[in-house]
């Protein structure tokens, strides 16, 4: 079987202590939350940290606080915690749907919200064992020089594969990053960078501590995920959409985010702007879907044919907008997710 490489293990009890250790150890240390992605990656030698800094003992990271003005979610809440909590319904449904569709029940019981937001980008030239990668003389992202997805590309084209990030971006979430020298709050959208290697604007000594949500009263949202099997695959395309409707039924604010179509979740700004002030008629939905789909640039490094993934993007946006409008799309959702709806 595959064995983990040797590593030092630290398990602090407070966030301050964790930040201090991370600062002291330098970039060779990595925070460990659920470990459902990092540990298999380490077995394949995609990451070989000298030190793992476990966040499991830090109670503050598992807190979930709701208030009139919004919610604060600790980064180490598990995806099961999120998926099963009835407070993530209505306005924040997209988040619960996204969390519920990550991997399997066993993994969701371990995997965390923060871990999923920081999930390493994926690529089927990269998510391979050391020996396999040796057989292609490695790739740009680890130990090599060429991006085999696009050999002339100066940057890595690995794919953002987080489910919760598109959902939370559509919900306008912010994140709190803590380091020894202080802390900062940025919008989740600004956390991401469209580069498969440097895909996060997180400094190596920063810990993603909390996710902050404003009140989603009056909002509705949804998350649609494309994957081969309903049982446990990573997304190869996703659409998160959120909107607030005015009394007339016209949209006041909307956000559409396309996931797994680039090295970061993509905000479909033009489509969202187009929707403002309009009711979701079939024509409006079609136009918005076309605008949103335009930004998706899938490449040949995930499951499914890339041109087909591009082709169905508009249809997925359509499902999402129809659901926001109030259509019953449970049959479409059941066919795609093979799961009961949330």
């Amino acid at each position: 079987m595959m064995r983990l490489p040797l590593f030092a293990f630290r398990a602090p009890r407070t966030l301050d202590e964790a930040a201090r250790i991370l600062h002291g150890e330098g970039p060779d240390a990595m925070p460990l939350a659920g470990g459902t992605d990092l540990l298999p990656n380490m077995k394949r030698r995609q990451q070989v940290p000298h030190t793992l800094l476990s966040l499991r003992q830090i109670d503050a990271l598992r807190a979930m606080r709701f208030a009139e003005l919004g919610a604060r979610l600790g980064a180490c809440l598990t995806l099961s915690d999120i998926a099963s909590d009835s407070r993530f319904r209505n306005g924040a449904t997209a988040l619960a749907q996204a969390a519920a569709q990550v991997a399997t029940p066993h993994i969701r019981n371990m995997a965390t919200l923060g871990g999923n937001l920081c999930l390493d980008t994926r690529c089927n030239y990269y998510d391979q064992s050391y020996e396999w990668r040796k057989a292609i003389n490695f790739c740009m992202k680890k130990d090599g020089v060429t991006c085999w997805v696009a050999p002339s590309s100066p940057k890595c084209m690995a794919v953002s594969s987080t489910d919760t990030a598109p959902a939370l971006m559509a919900l306008g979430a912010r994140v709190r990053l803590v380091s020894q020298s202080g802390e900062r709050e940025i919008s989740l959208t600004d956390l991401y960078n469209n580069d498969g290697m440097n895909y996060l604007h997180r400094k190596p000594d920063e810990i993603l501590a909390e996710v902050l949500l404003d009140s989603l009263h009056d909002w509705c949202s949804t998350y649609w995920k494309l994957r081969r099997r309903g049982s446990f695959d990573f997304p190869v395309l996703s659409v998160a959409a959120a909107a607030r409707f005015g009394k007339s039924g016209a949209i006041e604010v909307a956000r559409i985010v396309i996931g797994s179509a680039a090295s970061r979740p993509l905000v479909a700004e033009e489509a969202a702007k187009f929707l403002v002030g309009r009711s979701l008629t079939a024509e409006t939905i079609a136009e918005a879907a076309a605008l949103a789909a335009r930004i998706a640039k899938p490449l040949d490094n995930t499951d499914f044919d890339m041109s087909w993934r591009k082709k169905v993007t508009a249809e997925f946006v359509t499902y999402a907008l129809r659901e926001l409008r109030g259509d019953d799309v449970s049959a479409e959702r059941a066919a795609i997710t093979r799961m009961p709806s949330i």
């Binding site: 050999p151 169905v312 066919a335």
Partner: protein, 844 residues
């Protein structure tokens, strides 16, 4: 031991109503161990002082090894031993005609993952780290990635044997005047199909532990389906007397054909254990299992079929081009299998088959559930759907018109036994409400029907010999204990339960009263292995014979004690008694003691040899079987016309089982086949990545992981409605036929036919994916043929066909342009210069 007479099968113990064990849904004998986690798989074995082995594998698809420097690895702390090809130079392979593997490549690597060296160390992690310290100097050779490239690239040769260049094997057979058959046809259909390769994906990864016994002999515990063939390969490569080698096949966590070859890692740990005099273990990673492979061959097929207006077939011509991968494995048999069973479902009076297997620089293909017959079954059943549409006959009715009948001999001289294909069709037509659905459902919804046949055990062994294919020993002790010894291997299919149920039925016991020792070459008589759906019929008939012989001894002793005629002695409910006065009897334990007092220690044996096949021509060894199973399936699909997304809500399937020895296990096998079939139909692909040729010679498996190699899970399963058609077959024990493989075959073509019914496009290859449906829909929209699939079959230089007149043209089973092989059953002269093994055309 008395001589074996004709096969003992088919004689039910009393009439059907009297069966107490057979035919009843029962908990299998190994269920408790499995559900409580107590079954010891090979990787669960841990011995004192045990060392761990890792294999260094080739990173190149095709290269010569110039030199290997192991000195740094050997000096690494914790490393005990490093082996290379020089330590194990003798070639082996499952078929006598393709002894083309070395446990560690000596000077030539043929695919990424081919093993080059082995490190044995105190810890598995140490062994892994030391792999990187081995320096191998390679000379890169041209990469050959598919059959067309192999045909066009005769050099460099991947092997220095085979028919020509990189062609491993070409075969051509012709049964009757095929051209005349086409001339008599009202319509001729020509279709090209492609069946993608896929792998077995057993949940248990291969593992082996070898140890040198205190007396210097070798014992190996390993996840294998064929301990007997591994036994032979170990004796050959290690140059040890077979009597000094013990192979224990641990319960397999699934096999499906993927553990049927002797494997390099098994030979390596055996050698290492002998050298080090300590136990050595290897447990393959999932990626390494993809490199062992031996899975479904990718096959390009061309079917030409002539039919009359009423649907009857006048002639068929099938060509197959087979991607064999880097080694022979079962490939010669696989090649014949791609042309073997076309005649066993529907009446094909004249038939020409040409098959060609090429070597390529990919992991070797071999036998996967349905071995070699799955691919042409897909083509044949999809083509029949097209024929039915053109002739305006319902596809179910078409098949009912042309279905083969019981006891027929086919054009290629396969003798059928019971054939209940028509009943299977009628059952699924009824249960699925076919008549109300076919061509009547709304756009996007469709149903498809397909059928199949499969052998119940290969008629010939892998290597030429006249001995039985299976043997069983029974031991009786004074406590009434019955112990069964047999080489048969439990791979999850339930073979232990089959053996226990037969013995329990005959002797009036419960299956849990029987103690079983199976899959151990030291303890039990040879059984050839768990492949070709052969265990129930062969080991089952052997068990039946052994049990009947014991019963006769015990009955005689009890008759004497009870002073009744022996014919009146009955065995039931753990008693032996007078059937005329059931109160007059003894317990089974007392009965065994009476028999022992009368005859001495009680032990009996049974064995089984399949009947001789009338297919005497060269190549006729692949396909004969004592009897064949039949299956029909209806699949319902829903296809989204915008995305091409396919869902399968329901499947109805009927299987001609002869008799279900344990209906629970039979249904499990049917449902397991449906699951595997859906995977092959919709998503599974053994796909390879060729990097841009200007930049790299790499050819790697695209996703050797259980996450990215897509196979359905239990959550992805549709509702399956299973029906069993039971007419006891005279060849099977209590009438049983096979169920392990046959029910897989109709699923893929039924899905393809359902997609056509749903949305009007033909997907002439598997897997059938949303992308392909969208492409076919685009063709339809553009006014071209509404189809996705291969467009041509490349030119192959076929050899002259062996011409075998079918029975109705006066044929006797021989080719008229070859030497008669009438005396095949007579032992060949082993001392002649040619080895008989090389001439034997092999089956699996």
């Amino acid at each position: 031991m008395p001589e074996q007479k004709s096969p003992p099968g088919g004689k039910p113990n009393g009439n059907d109503g009297d069966l107490r064990v057979i035919g009843h849904a029962r908990r299998r004998v190994d269920a408790r161990a499995k559900v409580t986690g107590q079954t010891r798989f090979a990787d669960d074995i841990s011995l004192p002082r045990m060392a761990h082995c890792k294999l260094l594998r080739s990173p190149h698809p095709h290269a010569r090894i110039r030199s290997i420097d192991i000195s740094r690895a050997l000096a690494h702390p914790g490393v005990y031993l490093v082996l290379t090809g020089k330590d194990l130079p003798i070639e082996y392979g499952i078929l006598p005609v393709s002894q083309d593997e070395q446990a560690l490549c000596l000077d030539h690597v043929r695919h990424v993952g081919d093993p080059v060296a082995a490190v044995i160390a105190r810890e598995e992690l140490t062994a892994f780290e030391a792999l990187d310290l081995i320096q191998v100097d390679y000379e890169i050779l041209t990469t050959i990635s598919d059959p067309e490239e192999a045909l066009a690239t005769p050099t460099p040769r991947i092997h220095d044997y085979g028919d020509e260049g990189n062609i491993h094997k070409r075969v051509a057979l012709e049964f009757g005047n095929v051209d005349q058959g086409f001339a008599e046809a009202d319509e001729i259909f020509e279709d090209t199909f492609f069946y993608q390769g896929n792998t077995h994906l057993p949940i248990e990864q291969h593992a082996s532990v070898a140890t040198k016994d205190p007396d210097g002999k070798l014992t190996i515990w390993t996840s294998t389906q064929t301990p007997h063939y591994l036994h032979r390969a170990l004796a050959k490569v290690l140059q040890m007397p077979p009597a000094h080698i013990r192979v224990i096949a641990t319960p397999n966590g699934g096999g499906f054909g993927g553990k049927s070859d002797p494997f390099n890692h098994e030979i390596v740990v055996a050698k290492a254990a002998l050298v080090l005099d300590r136990p050595v273990k290897i447990c393959l990673t999932r990626e390494e299992v993809f490199y062992c492979h031996r899975g479904r061959h990718p096959v390009l097929m061309k079917f030409k079929t002539g039919v009359k207006k009423d649907g009857s077939i006048t002639a068929m011509h099938l060509q197959t081009l087979i991607d064999g991968g880097a080694y022979g494995s079962y490939g010669v048999a696989s090649t014949f299998y791609t042309g073997a069973l076309q005649t066993t479902t529907y009446h094909v009076p004249r038939y020409r088959f040409q098959g060609c297997r090429t070597f390529t620089n990919k992991p070797p293909c071999g036998p996967k559930r349905g071995h070699g017959t799955v691919q042409p079954r897909f083509g044949q059943e999809v083509q029949l759907d097209k024929i039915a549409e053109k002739l305006q006959i319902d596809p179910a009715d078409l098949r009912l018109r042309i279905a083969e009948s019981s006891n027929a001999v086919t054009a290629n001289f396969f003798r059928l036994s019971t054939v209940n294909l028509s009943e299977c069709i009628r059952r699924v037509v009824k249960s699925s409400d076919w008549r109300e659905k076919f061509r009547k459902l709304p756009e996007g919804h469709g149903v498809g029907l397909a059928c199949s046949a499969y052998l119940t055990g290969a008629g010939l062994p892998i290597y030429w010999n006249k001995m039985p294919h299976s043997g069983v020993q029974l031991k009786f002790d004074r406590g009434g204990g019955v112990t069964l010894f047999c080489g048969a291997t439990e791979i999850g299919q339930g073979s232990d339960d089959v053996l226990a149920s037969i013995v329990a039925e005959v002797l009036g016991l419960d299956t849990f009263d029987i103690r079983l020792y199976t899959g151990d070459t030291d303890l039990g008589p040879v059984d050839l292995g768990s492949y070709s759906s052969r265990v129930t019929i062969m080991a089952g008939n052997a068990a039946l014979q052994a049990a009947e012989r014991a019963k006769a001894l015990i009955a005689e002793a009890v008759a004497e004690r009870l002073s009744v005629p022996v014919e009146r002695v009955r065995f039931a409910e753990k008693r032996v008694f007078d059937s005329a006065a059931p109160g007059n009897g003894v317990t089974f334990t007392e009965a065994v003691c009476l028999a022992e007092a009368r005859f001495g220690t009680i032990g009996t044996v049974g064995s089984y040899t399949p009947p001789k096949s009338p297919a005497l021509y060269k190549g006729g060894g692949v396909g004969p079987s004592p009897t064949y199973s039949y299956t029909a399936a209806v699949v319902e699909v829903v296809v989204n016309p915008v995305t091409g997304w396919i869902t399968v809500p329901k499947i109805w399937i009927a299987h001609d089982i002869g008799r279900a020895l344990n209906p629970t296990l039979v249904r499990g096998q049917v449902e397991g086949s449906v699951y595997m079939g859906l995977g092959e139909a919709l998503m599974e692909e053994q796909e390879f990545r060729r990097l841009p040729k200007k930049l790299s010679h790499a050819l790697v498996h695209k996703f050797p992981s259980i996450l990215e190699y897509k196979s359905p899970t239990s959550l992805d399963m549709p509702d399956v409605f299973t029906e069993l058609v039971e007419e006891p077959d005279p060849k099977g024990p209590f009438g049983a036929k096979e169920v392990g493989q046959g029910p897989l075959l109709p699923i893929m073509p039924a899905v393809a036919n359902a997609v056509y019914d749903a949305i009007g496009v033909r997907i002439d290859e598997v897997p059938i994916t949303p992308e392909k449906i969208m492409k076919a829909l685009a063709e339809k929209k553009a006014g071209r043929a509404p189809r996705f699939g291969p467009s041509h079959f490349p030119h192959v230089e076929w050899p002259e066909a062996l011409r075998v007149p079918p029975p109705w043209e006066g044929g006797d089973g021989n080719a008229i342009n070859d030497v008669p092989r009438r005396d095949k059953a007579k032992p060949e002269q082993p001392h002649k210069s040619r080895t008989p093994e090389k001439d034997q055309v092999l089956s699996s």
